[in-house]
Symmetry: C2
Subunit: 105 residues, 2 copies
Amino acid sequence: MSDCTRPGSLFLSAPLPPGGIAIMAKFMDVHSGFVGVTPEQLVDAHEADLKIEGEEGVHFERAWLDAESGKVFCLSTGPSKEAVMRIHERTGHPTTEVYELTAEV
Amino acid sequence: MSDCTRPGSLFLSAPLPPGGIAIMAKFMDVHSGFVGVTPEQLVDAHEADLKIEGEEGVHFERAWLDAESGKVFCLSTGPSKEAVMRIHERTGHPTTEVYELTAEV
C-alpha cells in the first residue's frame, strides 16, 4: 500500500572515477537497543539527523523501527560509511553497523 | 535522489481488532551469507518471492543488497512474520531474522 516511485536502476554505487567526481553511494545502517521507543521518538531522532546531515553530504531517506526488538534501520545516501556514522554519532545514536548497498530492487 | 511518495502515517501496524478484519503489518527481514551476489541474482530472488507471495498475503516492496558483507534487507507487508518467513523459505532463501515495524519516517 505504500509503493515507491523511484528510478529503475539496480546499481546504486560505483567507485570514484579517476577524475574524482563524487558519486553518492547508498547505505543501510542498523541500530540496536531501542526497545520501547515511540514513533515520536523515531521522528525526533530522524529530524536531528536531517538537521546536520548536509554537513557531511549525507541524506537520510527513511528509517524504520521495531520497538519490540529495539532495532532501527536507516536508509541513506552519502559519500561514505564513515560520513553516515559521524552524523549518527553527533546526534546521539551511534552505530558501527553500516552496509554499503550494491543493488536494490 | 530516490525519494518515495508514501502515506504520512507513522503507525504501520496494529493488532487485529476483535471483529477479525486483517490489518497488514510491515516487516524488515535480514539475510546473511550473500557475499558476492550480483544485482541480477537479487532480482531473480526477489521475483521468485513475488511469484508466490500472494499465497500468504505478503508483498515484498523492496530489497537491498550489500554484496561485500553478504547482507540482504527486504521490506514487506503481510499478515505475520511467519507468513514472510514461509515465502522466503519456499523460494530458497530462508531467514529467521524478521522484524515487525512499529513506525517509519
